[in-house]
């Protein structure tokens, strides 16, 4: 068997195991229950608003799904590597013939599978609610794709921190990353005018450009307000998410490679 084929088998085995771990753990169900409660809340709230009931459900529903998926991604993701070391379960995995990178990649794909299934389940529930109020649009699945792309990035960030830091620190860093990612697109407008000379402005703009920009992956607004989606938007989002996550996972693997597992 070639090394490549062996590695693929190992990544699949680890991903499957990660999946089992998640669906057999409590935190997963707790977050799922919250998400469903949020949908219920959206429906109740929609009765109280004067405007379009459909829009409130769609809006709050997508926001809720996105929020709870991100929370699952962060709170499961930060433990993905660290807890394995903490609980010493990693010893037995890494003493097998597998490169450490396979472990990280397998863990990543496993959590992405969990998040994917989780997301589809929540979208189906949202669809049912919307069908009930005659407000269903297939665009929610398009929004789902973008939520998933965002999750790919967030999970990569969480796993990156998890391979170098403790869960608490990882959680803080990942959340900070998430917040910066969602607001960074407004930084140039807000902050650059405050600077006085051109060089400062150029430097500031350069830094803003290397910050993560998750607004690229945000379509919920476009959908709720029925704004037409520009051609190339989808491809741009996919490329951005894939590149960003690959880079982060690669960096995580590099740090993890030489680490003493004590």
């Amino acid at each position: 068997m070639s090394r490549f084929k062996l590695s693929c088998m190992q990544v699949i085995a680890i991903a499957k195991n990660t999946y089992k771990e998640a669906i057999r753990s409590k935190i997963f169900y707790v977050l799922m229950a919250f998400a469903i409660a949020m949908l219920g809340f959206a429906v109740i709230l929609s009765f109280l608003t004067i405007g379009s009931q459909k829009r409130v459900i769609l809006d709050l529903g997508l926001a809720g799904i996105s929020f709870f998926s991100v929370m699952t991604s962060i709170f499961v993701g930060i433990g993905l590597i660290y807890l394995e070391i903490e609980k010493k379960t990693i010893y037995n995995v890494l003493s097998k013939p597998l490169p450490r990178a396979s472990f990280i990649v397998g863990r990543y794909f496993g959590l992405m599978a969990v998040l994917g299934i989780n997301l589809i389940a929540m979208l189906i529930i949202l669809s049912i609610a919307l069908l009930f109020f005659k407000g269903f649009t297939p665009m929610i699945f398009y929004a789902g794709l973008f939520i998933y792309l965002e999750l790919a990035v967030i999970t990569a960030i969480a796993i990156f921190f998890s391979s170098i830091a403790s869960p608490v620190l990882s959680a803080i860093c990942t959340l900070a990353f998430y917040l910066i990612g969602h607001t960074s697109s407004t930084f140039p407008e807000m902050l650059v005018p405050l600077l006085h000379n051109d060089i400062q402005k150029k430097i500031a703009l350069f830094f803003f450009h290397i910050l993560p920009d998750l607004s690229i992956l945000n379509v919920s607004n476009l959908i709720t307000y029925n704004i037409p989606i520009a051609p190339g938007f989808t491809i741009r989002g996919i490329i951005y998410a894939v590149l960003f996550s690959t880079l982060l996972i690669f960096a995580g693997c590099l740090f993890f490679k030489k680490r003493d597992l004590v």
């Binding site: 062996l6 003493s95 097998k96 490169p99 030489k258 003493d260």
Partner: protein, 308 residues
């Protein structure tokens, strides 16, 4: 020339102390040659550096200095671990898996195909005495059961070399015996077994070769029978029916209600003493050669190290 299954050269490793203060020299230049075939015991008191050595061999931590070869190849290439079955110290496993799922999971990391994996898993769980417990999640296993499932997963790839960290820990006397028998069986199959332990009786019973590590240094190593024969042995003779003859008076260890026991250092003395005693009409009750036990070697090694 036959290759060593494990060759460890001048291994050094330090750890940072608590809160990164201070420096613990866990290994101070360890050398080991584990020949192919046979059982090699790696003995040492708590904190001597056994687990540290095994973790370096299996690639979990990196040495400061020194090198390791497995069947003649550097251990830095992960693929050589295909030939190793490893049981970590007090096995920590995914407790949400069942015994069967766990063994299969580790099997799949070796690229074992499904059909073979199913058969082998069943066979091994049976072999380690977990028949009927396959479908129970590990969180409900007892310590001894965990140790057994740990052994089963270490055997899943049918490796030529088995590295076991404290394989007998957590087991009751019957369990220990079963594991000893299993290790002997594996040896018969031509495998090399390298295991760490501080239970000397176990090691003494099954090892062909041992190395004793104390405070990060190997203090004794070699074939077990040579180590045991090296130190001076003595003989105890007990007899009754006569007073101890004057020439043997200074050898008496106990004298009690007509029984006496004398202790002699070498064989010639024993022959002479026996002749004397029988001549005088004494009745020999027993003649006990006293061999140095591994425990005594072990304790004296630690004692020497302390005085250094």
């Amino acid at each position: 020339m036959t290759k060593d299954a494990i060759l460890v050269k001048n291994l050094k490793k330090h750890f940072k102390g608590h809160l990164s203060i201070g420096r613990i020299e866990a290994l101070k230049g360890v050398n080991l040659e584990v020949k192919e075939g046979g059982i090699y015991g790696f003995i040492g008191p708590n904190g001597a550096g056994k687990t540290t050595t095994l973790k370096i061999i299996t690639g979990l931590i990196f040495p400061d200095e020194g090198e390791v070869q497995i069947f003649g190849k550097p251990h830095t290439d992960y693929i050589i671990r295909k030939d190793i079955g490893f049981l970590p110290e007090s096995p920590y496993f995914y407790d949400y898996l069942t015994g069967e799922e766990l063994v299969k999971f580790f099997g799949s990391l070796f690229g074992i195909q499904k059909k073979e994996l199913n058969e082998r898993t069943k066979y091994l769980l049976d072999l380690v005495g977990l028949k009927g417990k396959e479908k129970i999640p590990l969180r409900k296993y007892s310590k001894g059961m965990l140790q057994r499932v740990g052994l089963a997963q270490a055997l899943i790839n049918d490796a030529k070399l088995l590295i076991l960290d404290e394989p007998m820990s957590g087991l009751d006397p019957i369990g220990r015996r079963e594991i000893r028998d299993l290790i002997l069986k594996l040896k018969e199959e031509g495998k090399t077994i390298f295991f760490s332990s501080h239970i000397l009786a176990d090691a003494e019973m099954i090892c062909d070769e041992v190395a004793i590590i104390v405070k990060g240094k190997i203090v004794q190593k070699g074939r077990l029978e040579e180590l045991l024969a090296k130190d001076v042995q003595f003989y105890d003779i007990s007899f009754k029916g006569i007073e101890t003859p004057p020439e043997l008076k200074d050898k008496v260890v106990v004298a009690f209600e007509g029984y006496s026991m004398i202790r002699l250092k070498d064989e010639d003395e024993v022959d002479k003493a026996l002749a004397t005693l029988i001549n005088k009409g004494g009745k020999i009750m027993s003649l006990m050669p006293h061999k140095t036990s591994l425990e005594e070697i072990f304790l004296s090694s630690i004692e020497e190290k302390k005085n250094e």
